[in-house]
Symmetry: C2
Subunit: 444 residues, 2 copies
Amino acid sequence: MKPIQVGLLGIGTVGSGVFNVLRRNQEEIRRRAGRGIEITMVADLDVERAKSVVGAGVQVVNNARAIIANPDIDIVVELIGGYGVAKALVLEAIAAGKHVVTANKALLAVHGTEIFAAASAKGVMVAFEAAVAGGIPIIKALREGLTANRIQWLAGIINGTTNFILSEMRDKGLDFDVVLKEAQRLGYAEADPTFDIEGVDAAHKATIMSAIAFGIPVQFDKAYVEGITQLGAADIKYAEQLGYRIKLLGITKRTDKGIELRVHPSLVPSKRLIANVEGAMNAVMVNGDAVGTTLYYGKGAGSEPTASAVIADLVDITRLHTVDPLNRVPHLAFQPHTLDAAMDSLPVLPMSEVVTSYYLRLRVADQAGVLAKVTGILAGAGISIDALLQREADEVGGEGSTQTDLIILTHDTREGTMDQAIAQMQALPTVLATITRIRKEELN
Amino acid sequence: MKPIQVGLLGIGTVGSGVFNVLRRNQEEIRRRAGRGIEITMVADLDVERAKSVVGAGVQVVNNARAIIANPDIDIVVELIGGYGVAKALVLEAIAAGKHVVTANKALLAVHGTEIFAAASAKGVMVAFEAAVAGGIPIIKALREGLTANRIQWLAGIINGTTNFILSEMRDKGLDFDVVLKEAQRLGYAEADPTFDIEGVDAAHKATIMSAIAFGIPVQFDKAYVEGITQLGAADIKYAEQLGYRIKLLGITKRTDKGIELRVHPSLVPSKRLIANVEGAMNAVMVNGDAVGTTLYYGKGAGSEPTASAVIADLVDITRLHTVDPLNRVPHLAFQPHTLDAAMDSLPVLPMSEVVTSYYLRLRVADQAGVLAKVTGILAGAGISIDALLQREADEVGGEGSTQTDLIILTHDTREGTMDQAIAQMQALPTVLATITRIRKEELN
């Protein structure tokens, strides 16, 4: 049988990885897939650079539509990124009857419903293992490995840049800005790191996993997104003293009222495996009612780890492209006609309805009665305290006035309730700076 | 479409879990599979107990062959265990055109070649996610998630009983025999724990993963198997002082000469995630040339975790039972006609050809010259020393004679070379007890 023919849209870091791994392991992959898989066309604006990567024998064009128009191409791999031209090209490829593999989490988190509907109507597959957590086969685990389960929650370190920054802040006791510059110098953070450090990239990935876990449409617009730019070295240190580490987690959880979907820094017990995932590594915990808690760990980015996921999708499509679409795994794990009803019964909750526990740090005047006022406000709101840490007072400013840090861990409470309590505490004249609030997840 | 019909052979712990989870999550599972999955027949020698589990509406028989003979049954789930009647029934089910799901690692590790050949000839699937690491979808990850990769090695904690025992030995400083009794009392170890504590169960699972990882037939007879019965609390304590924990690992590795396939206690750096997998939990590390190192963690046994894996297989078969067998994933991940050639080019190596590093503990007389003799023997064999720990001498016996423990960590060396060096050291009159040798794996 002749090899299945693949066209790459974009041959940057990931595209080069896909090309190199497919060529290096072609015998191994053919022994698995039962058929060769060959990249026969590449589109890139920089034709010369693309040619230097793929060498002779692969057609390089500067117009992606030449690939989509080529009837010999079976699968189009979209590695352009973003919502603009990538969206148009993916939809055109689908319309042309091509199967699509993409690593584009932003596109799927925002326009997934439209794209998957188009693919279903045309009977083609859109595969996206590479969109979440790089080489870790987490999409396959969720879509196929845990199908017996009612998934209860998942929580993941799904952005390597921010995990690298947080690891460095903890190891070296440095503040965010300093470590960000180092990460940029080392290539762990981009020149414009906004999507990573503000949590947007993690929220794209959490949105996709939420849909697959619970059988709801992708709803990025309803995700709560908070990054790591406000974290200070002091909070990381205090968390450590209390037995926690701070990680940027993408979390989605089933509750009686609906689905929580949120990305924010979180205190995690130091003894959990996921608290010990360091540097640019990724990990996702998934809790199902039958299986209990499972964890998946590996490189979440980079040329060949991401290529590993792209090629796994190519192999799956090579196996299944001739079968009836009903015999394939649905794009979002659940039969597509059931998604809308599930959206009604499982709405994504506003952040004010999320229930979790909290770490609070208050900069207070070191004088009698402060603690009573603060704990009184919490008690009045029905928020119970799990642990309290009062630091020795620092001398600051003139006239012997002193300040101190008051750190409070709470039990579970509704975010809206906590918002009100924080506003009340913030209004106290003895609370001298903006209160730091970090959510805490026990993950058990 | 009418539900796909499943017959259970055996309804003990796992079978009950399969029945209960399938019923509890039937809507969720139907939304994924696109079709209902129902257990309509159960065979068990204890018909009354079986009836009390499944209630009315499910036919209970005491003869498994009645299920195999029933033309309405699409899939047979074998949960009997062992090589005897289970083998006969699996082969009969295949011959009757049934798809088979099994959790039986012993059967597949020993008779897999025969069983998979029969299934391929008949065009049916034999699925076995539950045979390795319970609910962790490690078979799916290896067979489908990492298809891009040339797998280099994998190492797993794949027996919960022994991991529980080792965790307790470390936590409480107790010796093996004491903890085994406790584990039996708590139900973590069976009345006859031989298969677990001697490493046989782990070797069955490692054998299956080795075949899938490297594209070779299952070759349990060539696995090296060593259990944990000889481990003492002292070794666990010394390992800890050197920055290691001791875990029973199933390891399989690709080398220039062939495949290593071995189960034995191993020192693992304490900072590795897998070193922190405690109690009855399982975890498998997989290293591929593209993806790097990945890890999969979860419950390796128990009623519902194992049921989670069995049902995932039922869903896969429900999707794929009507397609051409060529469109399915091959049983052992690689096209079956390629396995025999791979066995020739990738032979499973005898243990004497394995290259690893070592922890050695020698009980020696506390007198001048002992260290020089021991290190001289190692140097003579070309074995270099990574670290050396000499304990303070203990007073033992009369006349002021003292003994001490000498602990040596070596760099990589061939097992056969180490065997000879140990024999030479053992022959020294100043070496007073049997030398303890534990292999050490850096896993990086």
